[in-house]
Symmetry: C2
Subunit: 120 residues, 2 copies
């Protein structure tokens, strides 16, 4: 098991927080919008069916997940995607992918004697 721990035994790894952050449709919409161009909170909220404070809260979550960074520009605050923010998540999925393929190959090569096989 090359992965950390997905359960509750450990601190949240970057990929976990990113995954949980992107699970929300509104947050995905925000991220997709920011993937086109940076924007302040007000503009983001204007294009969404939720209130502006809701967007602020979502941005806070996205920031904690390392997916978004902000820069104060006068009274406004410009939000943009963190370029490397998706890297941990992508790596995690790649590892899952590779392990699954390896397991599939091993399964095809030898079709028995796993631990879950009947233990009579």
């Amino acid at each position: 098991m090359a992965y950390g721990n997905s359960d509750h035994t450990g601190t949240a790894h970057p990929y976990a927080t990113a995954l949980e952050a992107l699970a929300d449709p509104t947050r995905r919409a925000i991220v997709e919008r920011l993937s086109a161009a940076p924007a302040p909170v007000g503009v983001l909220a204007a294009g969404l069916p939720v209130s502006r404070p809701a967007v602020s809260q979502h941005l806070k979550v996205l920031g904690a997940a390392g997916l978004v960074i902000s820069e104060p520009r006068g009274a406004r605050r410009i939000y943009r995607l963190a370029p490397k923010g998706l890297a941990p998540l992508r790596d995690y999925l790649d590892t899952l992918w590779d392990d699954a393929l390896a397991a599939f190959a091993a399964e095809a090569h030898r079709a028995s004697a796993s631990d879950w096989k009947d233990s009579s």
Copy 2:
């Protein structure tokens, strides 16, 4: 009402369901376990801090997300990762990544003003 159904971006695409499925720590643990080798429900539940029916429900969600497939083997039912299940999610993240990079490049190269930009 708070827009009960969650989709601003259109009909629930596969990557969305996969994302929401993997957001749960228990389901991630199941997927990671299956990425090592196929297993029946009982074995999966034995390695998790939840009951067996809970695992069944999670597997149903993962199946609906296209991440897991099952094959009845005698009285048991063997679950394994769907090799192509992660593809839509990976593609989605790749697109997001590429768009963000393009936006960053455009930002650095920008000449014209966006609507929210301050004039100066």
